[in-house]
């Protein structure tokens, strides 16, 4: 191998640094304004770090605002959605991975279709359906809607993980007298644990980020999820930048935790979802 010219290596590292700076700068700024005391916010507007930092905005947001409630609501909705979707998607993903059946083509086609059409089309009809059932302005309603939206992509994701496990394993168990479901539960599922963790992470992140349906379906403050609460806070108190950004930092925490969890599976997840962001 020829040694690469030094300037190419330097240019490469500089380009990587530029990308990292571009990726992190908005988040850095969010954190910076969140720790800037109000009296310095305007006088030191575009300084890269305030002359003294404080956690007063976090303190206020955690103790005197409704954000802990929004955070809890979002946690309930995203957590339940992730668990339910993962259970349903392991079952259907297993069916797609291990069986050849007549309806398979139609099932796959239906799931692909749901990934292609604009979900915003469903905002009005879903509201109309859920409203007489008492499921608007309810966390349960949101969980049902999010679960349905995420099942198709999670099914493809789980299928890709099942495909990676040799069939011989459950065939051996079935020769020993286990039914296929027992073999699935006791042999295949434990082997797919990393895949299950990745699916949980992807679905949690998707549910945590969803905006339009939670805006449409939730109206009261006590059932509001984080995006709804943050947006109504922004439109009401649009001058409390420090508090808004402190709340924003809070919304970022679970998303970043799950990002670390699923980092290794990003490629698989994005290609399984195909059209999913």
């Amino acid at each position: 191998m020829r040694a690469k010219p030094l300037f190419l290596t330097i240019a490469h590292r500089l380009a990587i640094l530029a990308y990292i700076a571009f990726a992190l700068f908005p988040l850095y700024w969010l954190l910076k304004v969140a720790v800037t005391p109000n009296d310095l916010l305007y006088s030191e507007g575009i300084r890269l770090w305030p002359s003294h930092a404080s956690l007063e905005h976090f303190d206020f947001v955690l103790r005197h605002s409704a954000f802990p409630v929004f955070f809890r609501n979002s946690l309930i909705v995203s957590g339940s959605t992730a668990v339910i979707v993962t259970i349903l998607a392991s079952l259907s993903g297993y069916a797609l991975s291990r069986f050849n059946f007549r309806g398979k083509y139609w099932l796959v086609a239906l799931m692909l279709l749901t990934q292609m059409f604009p979900l915003v089309m469903l905002v009005a009809p879903i509201f109309k359906i859920l409203s007489p059932l008492g499921l608007t302005n309810s966390l349960t309603g949101l969980v049902i809607v999010y679960t349905a939206f995420n099942v198709p992509f999670a099914t493809f994701l789980m299928q890709s993980f099942f495909d990676g496990i040799p069939k011989d394993l459950e065939e051996a168990a079935m020769i020993d007298g286990a039914t296929q479901f027992v073999a699935f539960r006791q042999i295949i599922l434990p082997l797919t644990l990393p895949g299950i963790a990745a699916t949980l992470g992807f679905v949690f992140t998707a549910a945590w980020s969803e905006l339009l349906f939670s805006l449409m379906l939730i109206s009261g403050n006590d059932q509001a999820t984080f995006p709804v609460g943050l947006l109504s806070f922004v439109s009401k108190f649009s001058v409390d930048f420090g508090q808004m950004m402190a709340a924003g930092v809070l919304a970022l925490i679970p998303a970043c935790l799950f990002f670390l969890l699923i980092q290794r599976y990003l490629v698989q997840g994005l290609t399984a979802g195909a059209v999913k962001g």
């Binding site: 490469h12 380009a15 990587i16 990308y19 571009f22 990726a23 908005p26 700024w29 304004v33 305007y42 507007g45 575009i46 349903l88 998607a89 259907s92 797609l96 291990r98 069986f99 059946f101 309806g103 239906l110 292609m116 059409f117 604009p118 979900l119 915003v120 089309m121 469903l122 905002v123 009005a124 009809p125 879903i126 509201f127 049902i144 679960t147 939206f149 099942v151 198709p152 099914t155 992140t205 980020s209 905006l211 339009l212 449409m216 943050l230 947006l231 808004m244 950004m245 924003g248 919304a251 970022l252 998303a255 990002f259 980092q263 990003l266 490629v267 994005l270 290609t271 059209v275 962001g277």
Partner: protein, 294 residues
């Protein structure tokens, strides 16, 4: 008996998912199509009558809708192109091992994990001259005549959501393209450089042909997805100023959410669906044509 049970097994495994998809997605989809021909207003208990093609007639004279169509093209085209170009460069930069690649990869992919509403708010704040640095920097560089908010400038407002979208979407392209890059057999490059091919030639005759299918599929699917992606616009500008950033998807949402006019919203949604179908058909036909040409 056993054979019947075996035949039913795959259906039993997929039944819960299937039932949920049908009731929560397929039924509302069909219902939504029927709304397009009815007068459905949430606040008016006497609405609900069939109005035939009235909504579509109103739509054909709705200047805001035509503006939203043009904005959708602009928003989608600029976002996809910039995300693709910067995503491809990033994937090429990350392709070869170097010290600290794992960490660099985790950091540059982080924006993908940021919830879209937060990405929108974050960039709206960066563009806000009160707390954000961007207007001051643009002014300092002489690009803008004063440190003002581009989100309230009708000529420039669309760039706000586009920049946020590019920031948020680069990782998606980079990850998919990186996976495709790593699948190219390494010995091809060695053979080519032994035969005397320079880096540009290797890129053009090995990398690009291998990447082409992935690039094509990713861009086509991403185009559909981004044209429907209204979150950033709703959060950052809400379609304003003066509808300059309204895309069709955000227009549908505004009609349903603000004006509670479900009938009209569904009519626009139906037109959008038809346009997306036409786009998909066009791609299928194009693909057939390209295949038959070879």
């Amino acid at each position: 008996m056993k054979r019947i049970a075996d035949g039913a097994a795959p259906y039993l495994y997929s039944a819960p998912a299937l039932i949920l998809i049908v009731t929560v997605m397929l039924v509302p989809l069909v219902l939504g199509v029927s709304y397009a021909f009815r007068d459905i207003q949430l606040l008016n208990p006497f609405s609900g009558a069939y109005v035939g093609l009235d909504h579509f007639r109103a739509l054909s004279e709705d200047q805001a809708f035509y503006r939203a169509l043009r904005n959708t093209l602009w928003w989608t085209g600029a976002s996809v192109l910039l995300q693709f170009v910067f995503g491809l460069i990033l994937a090429l930069l990350l392709d070869k091992p170097f010290y600290g690649r794992g960490l660099a990869q985790a950091l540059v992919f982080l924006p993908w994990a940021v919830p879209s509403f937060l990405a929108g708010l974050n960039w709206a704040w960066l563009f806000n001259p009160v707390v954000g640095p961007l207007p001051h920097w643009l002014f300092g560089l002489g690009i803008m005549s004063g440190p003002s908010n581009i989100l309230s400038d009708p000529q420039l407002a669309m760039w706000g959501p586009i920049v946020a979208n590019v920031w948020w979407g680069i990782p998606f392209f980079a990850i998919t393209l990186l996976a495709a890059l790593q699948a190219i057999p390494r010995d091809l490059y060695e053979a080519a450089s032994i035969d005397g091919a320079g880096p540009v030639q290797r890129f053009l005759s090995i990398t690009l042909p291998f990447l082409a299918p992935t690039i094509a599929i990713t861009i086509l699917l991403r185009t559909v997805w981004i044209s429907n992606f209204a979150d950033l616009i709703i959060v950052m500008t809400n379609g304003g100023p003066a509808d300059r950033t309204q895309i069709v998807a955000s227009y549908i949402f505004t009609q349903a959410f603000k004006r509670l006019d479900f009938g009209y919203a569904s009519a626009i949604a139906l037109v959008l669906l038809a346009l997306l179908l036409a786009y998909s058909m066009l791609i299928v036909i194009l693909r057939q044509w390209l295949l038959s040409k070879d």
